[in-house]
C-alpha cells in the first residue's frame, strides 16, 4: 500500500540536457476535469432563453444561483467594478478546484484528484499571484503598486518579498496537503475500519438485537398487537440469522464484507472526499479573492 501512495506514474521526457517529468495520470485527470467543465458550461448556455424577456429556464436559474453564491460568499465586500471583473475567474477557479477534488469519487480506474499533485496546485497559486500583480498595477498604477512593497518602511522590502513567496507557497501547499492527506487517510483507514467491523460484527449484531427487543417491549406495553406480531417475527428471523452467522461464519463472511466495505466506503468518502474537498475548494478560492483584494487596496 505504501508503495502506491508515494510513487505516482511519472514519464521523464528528455529535452536537450534536461529531463521534464510528466505525470500522465494527473495530466489526463486535469484535462478531463477541464473538458467536463467546458461541456457543462456549453450545456448550461444552451439552456438560456435567447429572449431576455422570456421566463427563466431551469439552467438559467441554476447558473444565476451559482454566480450569486460566488459573488456574495467568495467575493464578499469588494468594490463593484473589480468584483465584476473577477467574477468569471473566481467562479471558474472554484468550479475547477471543486471538480478536481471530487473527481476521484467517480469509479474510474487510475482516476486521481488532479489537486493531489503539487504541480497543479502550484500552477493555480502562481496564476493567482500573477493576477494579484496584474490587478494591482491596473487599479493602482505601476508606481503605487511597486511602492506598496516599500511600506511601511523601505527596509521592509525583503520582508514583503519573502511574504509574497510564502503566501503563494502556502496557498499551493494547503490545497495539495489537504487533498493528499485525505487520500492517504482514506487508504489507511478504510482497510482498518472494514477489518475492525468484520472482526467485531457480533457486537453490532448483539446491539441491534437488544435495540429490537427494547422496541418490541415498548410495542407490547402500548398494546399494539399487530405491529408486535409482525416486528416480533422479523426479530426472530434476525435472531436466527445471527445464530447462523455466528455458527457458520464462512457463509456470511463475503456478503458481510461487501456490505461493511460499501458502508465504510460511503461514509469515509463522504467525509474525506465530499466534505473536505468542498471546504478546501472554498478555502482556496476565498484566499485567492482575499489576496487579490489585498493587492488592489
Amino acid at each position: 500500500m505504501s508503495s502506491e501512495i508515494g510513487r505516482d506514474l511519472v514519464w521523464r521526457v528528455p529535452v536537450g540536457p534536461w529531463a521534464i517529468a510528466l505525470n500522465p495520470l494527473t495530466l489526463a485527470a486535469a484535462l478531463g476535469v477541464a473538458l467536463g467543465l467546458v461541456l457543462l458550461g456549453l450545456w448550461l448556455r444552451r439552456g438560456i432563453p435567447a429572449d431576455p424577456e422570456a421566463p427563466p429556464s431551469r439552467r438559467l436559474v441554476l447558473l444565476t444561483a451559482f454566480l450569486e453564491f460566488v459573488e456574495r460568499q467568495i467575493l464578499g465586500a469588494m468594490e463593484e467594478g473589480i468584483k465584476r471583473a473577477l467574477l468569471p475567474f473566481v467562479a471558474t477557479l472554484f468550479l475547477f478546484v471543486l471538480a478536481s477534488n471530487l473527481a476521484p469519487l467517480l469509479p474510474l480506474p487510475g482516476l486521481v484528484a488532479p489537486t493531489r499533485d503539487l504541480n497543479v496546485t502550484l500552477g493555480l497559486a502562481l496564476l493567482v499571484y500573477a493576477l494579484c500583480h496584474l490587478y494591482g498595477i491596473r487599479v493602482k498604477g505601476l508606481w503605487r503598486h511597486g511602492k506598496s512593497y516599500l511600506e511601511p518602511l523601505p527596509v521592509m522590502l525583503p520582508m514583503n518579498l519573502v511574504g509574497d513567496l510564502g503566501r503563494t507557497l502556502s496557498h499551493a501547499f494547503r490545497l495539495f496537503g489537504n487533498i493528499l492527506g485525505g487520500s492517504i487517510m482514506l487508504a489507511v483507514i478504510f482497510p482498518v475500519l472494514v477489518d475492525l467491523v468484520l472482526r467485531f460484527r457480533w457486537i453490532l449484531g448483539v446491539l441491534l438485537l437488544l435495540v429490537g427487543a427494547l422496541a418490541l417491549r415498548a410495542l407490547a406495553r402500548r398494546g399494539k398487537a399487530r405491529a408486535f406480531r409482525v416486528l416480533g417475527l422479523l426479530w426472530l428471523g434476525a435472531l436466527a440469522l445471527f445464530v447462523v452467522h455466528i455458527w457458520v461464519p464462512l457463509v456470511w463472511a463475503a456478503p458481510a464484507a461487501f456490505l461493511v466495505g460499501t458502508g465504510a466506503g460511503v461514509i469515509l468518502n463522504f467525509f474525506f472526499g465530499v466534505f473536505s474537498g468542498t471546504i478546501q475548494a472554498l478555502v482556496f478560492t476565498l484566499l485567492a479573492a482575499a489576496y487579490i483584494q489585498m493587492a488592489v487596496e
Binding site: 501547499f173 496537503g177 478555502v283 476565498l286 484566499l287
Partner: protein
C-alpha cells in the same frame, strides 16, 4: 536478530514522520479550537452576522492550518522522498 543499517534508517524514518506529524498537529488544533470557539461566541451574540463570521472563520482556520500542512508535507517527504 541482526539489524542492518538500512533497516535502522527505515525505522528512524517512521519514527521521525510520526513525531513530525504528531507535534505539528498540536498547534493548528489549538489555534482552530480557539477560532471556532470565538466564532461560535460571536454567532451566538449576533446571529445575523453568522454568514460573515462563518466565511472569516474558514479563512482563519485555513491560515491556522498552514503549519500543520507543512508538517504533513515534511512527514510525507521523510517517508517517501528522502
Amino acid at each position: 536478530m541482526q539489524i542492518t543499517g538500512a533497516e535502522f534508517v527505515q525505522a528512524m524514518k517512521y519514527l521521525a514522520a510520526g513525531i513530525c506529524m504528531g507535534i505539528g498537529a498540536i498547534g493548528p488544533a489549538l489555534g482552530e479550537g480557539r477560532i471556532g470557539a470565538s466564532a461560535l461566541e460571536g454567532m451566538a451574540r449576533q446571529p445575523e452576522m453568522a454568514n460573515t463570521l462563518l466565511r472569516n472563520m474558514i479563512i482563519a482556520d485555513a491560515i491556522a492550518e498552514t503549519t500543520g500542512i507543512y508538517s504533513l508535507i515534511v512527514a510525507i517527504m521523510i517517508l517517501f522522498v528522502v
